[in-house]
Amino acid sequence: MNKHDVCKPEVYSSIYNAQANGLYNYLFYKFGDKQTAEDIVQESFIKLWNNCAKIIFDKAKAYLFSVASNMFIDVKRHDKVVLKYQNSKHGKLNIETPEFVIEEKEFMVKLQKTIGSLPDKQREVFLLNRIDKKTYKEIANMLNISVKAVEKRMHNALKIVRKDIGNI
């Protein structure tokens, strides 16, 4: 029996342990909504199980991300308005401000809001790099885009954030 057989429960659960966080974060960056991200993680892993015989171990990660982003497209179509509303809820992000003094708090809130309203594609790339510490190459592989495209999104995202924040 192949130890990389996705249909084997221990292989499947090891894939979950390795990929669930990354997938969840990615979906959260896209959505800005915890519940939706969780639901899609769940749906993606159920799909992985249902198709386990067809998926090679090495492709499981790519499969999960592509299934998840396809589902995101479905949800987005229904909930365009909700998404905007969800974006503005980025304020739920935890902020720890040990070094920052009170007046810095204002800056952090502004920063969150700005990131929340970034275009989806820029936001997901930007946060995958800044928070999950994924390299541009990793992101490119994950989203099936070129490294150049990732760099462009990073560059533009930072430019927009800087512009929106204004004078500090």
């Binding site: 659960s13 979950y16 342990n17 669930a20 966080n21 969840y24 974060n25 959260f28 960056y29 915890k34 991200a37 969780e38 993680v41 769940q42 892993f45 159920i46 199980w49 249902n50 739920k92 992000l93 935890n94 902020i95 720890e96 401000t97 920052f100 800056f107 952090m108 920063l111 969150q112 946060l127 790099n129 800044r130 928070i131 390299t135 541009y136 150049k148 990732v150 760099e151 462009k152 999104r153 990073m154 560059h155 533009n156 930072l158 430019k159 954030v161 800087r162 924040i165 500090i168």
Partner: protein
């Protein structure tokens, strides 16, 4: 910094990934901008994604998989089993009830051995169908021309749209075209039923109904001529001969103004199209030209 250059060189991305240094960035942007970028970069370090209860979600997934699996498996097994049984039964009955069909194309001949050991030899462009298993009577349906060698046994009947031939054990030839029906008996005795007439043929006797013109005659070959690669006609309508030529050679004959109700007696051989056409059309005073599988007829 021109807009175009900014688009081409994502220096901010490079700065974020430490591919270019702070000093390099300082040389590309204003002091104010640099300070802002730096502040944003630092500020971002304090963000976290909200906690995600990984184990809890895994339990949820496992539960829903189990539920699904149970339901799917039990239903799947049941329906699969039911479907297999159904397929076996229905295909058995369907298969048993289906007649076997033997077919020949233009210029093709085929010999079929029937389940009772009798033989049927099909001439070109003919179709013979018969059941997989015979119960009481041996019955077949023919469209076209065939020669039968019948083993002794139960009643053997060949049905055609023009009439039927019934025998006990014999050799005979049937040719059933649209308006043409002929039977030649080569051995034993056959009974031909057409419309309400019943005709008995013994060895060497032939019967034909050519467009309601009925004829009976004697012959002395012991096998139909087409088995030797020749078609024989006795006072047949030219249209029947043309049809046979077309079937044999896979050609189309364009009659133009030729009167196809003329009567033809003679034969043509299957070896050579040109010779066959000549042997049919020269005695009838008809010229012909061949152009890619099409034969155009012309009165001389």
């Amino acid at each position: 910094m021109s807009f175009q250059k900014e688009n081409k060189d994502p220096f901010l991305a490079k700065w974020l990934s430490d591919e270019i240094s702070d000093n390099e960035l300082k040389s590309l942007v204003s002091v104010k901008d640099f300070q802002a970028y730096e502040k944003i970069k630092k500020g971002l370090e304090f963000f976290e994604t909200p906690t995600f209860e990984k184990d809890k979600l895994y339990q949820k997934i496992s539960k829903s998989l189990l539920k699904k699996e149970k339901r799917v498996i039990s239903l799947r097994w049941f329906s699969a089993a039911a479907a297999i049984v159904l397929i076996i039964f229905s295909s058995y009955f369907y298969y048993a009830s289906l007649p076997t069909i033997a077919k020949t194309n233009f210029g093709e001949q085929k010999t079929i051995v029937l389940s009772d050991g009798s033989q049927a030899m099909l001439n070109s462009k003919s179709l013979l169908s018969f059941p997989k298993k015979w119960k009481n009577k041996r019955e077949l349906t023919l469209n076209g021309e065939a020669f039968f060698k019948v083993k002794k046994g139960k009643t053997f009947r060949v049905n055609t749209s023009n009439g039927s031939v019934t025998v006990l054990g014999t050799q005979f030839n049937v040719n059933a075209q649209d308006n043409y029906f002929s039977v030649k008996c080569f051995e034993g005795k056959v009974m031909v039923i057409q419309n309400k007439d019943t005709i008995y043929l013994t060895k060497g006797k032939a019967y034909q109904n050519n467009n309601t013109k009925i004829e009976q005659w004697d012959f002395n070959n012991n096998k139909p001529s087409w088995l030797q690669g020749e078609s024989n006609f006795k006072s047949a309508h030219l249209s029947i001969v043309i049809q046979s030529l077309e079937n044999q050679f896979g050609i189309e004959i364009i009659e133009n103004n030729i009167d196809t109700s003329q009567i033809f007696t003679g034969s043509f051989s299957y070896n050579d199209l040109n010779i066959a056409l000549k042997s049919v059309f020269s005695p009838m005073n008809i010229d012909f030209t061949i152009e890619n599988k099409k034969v155009f007829l012309l009165k001389k």
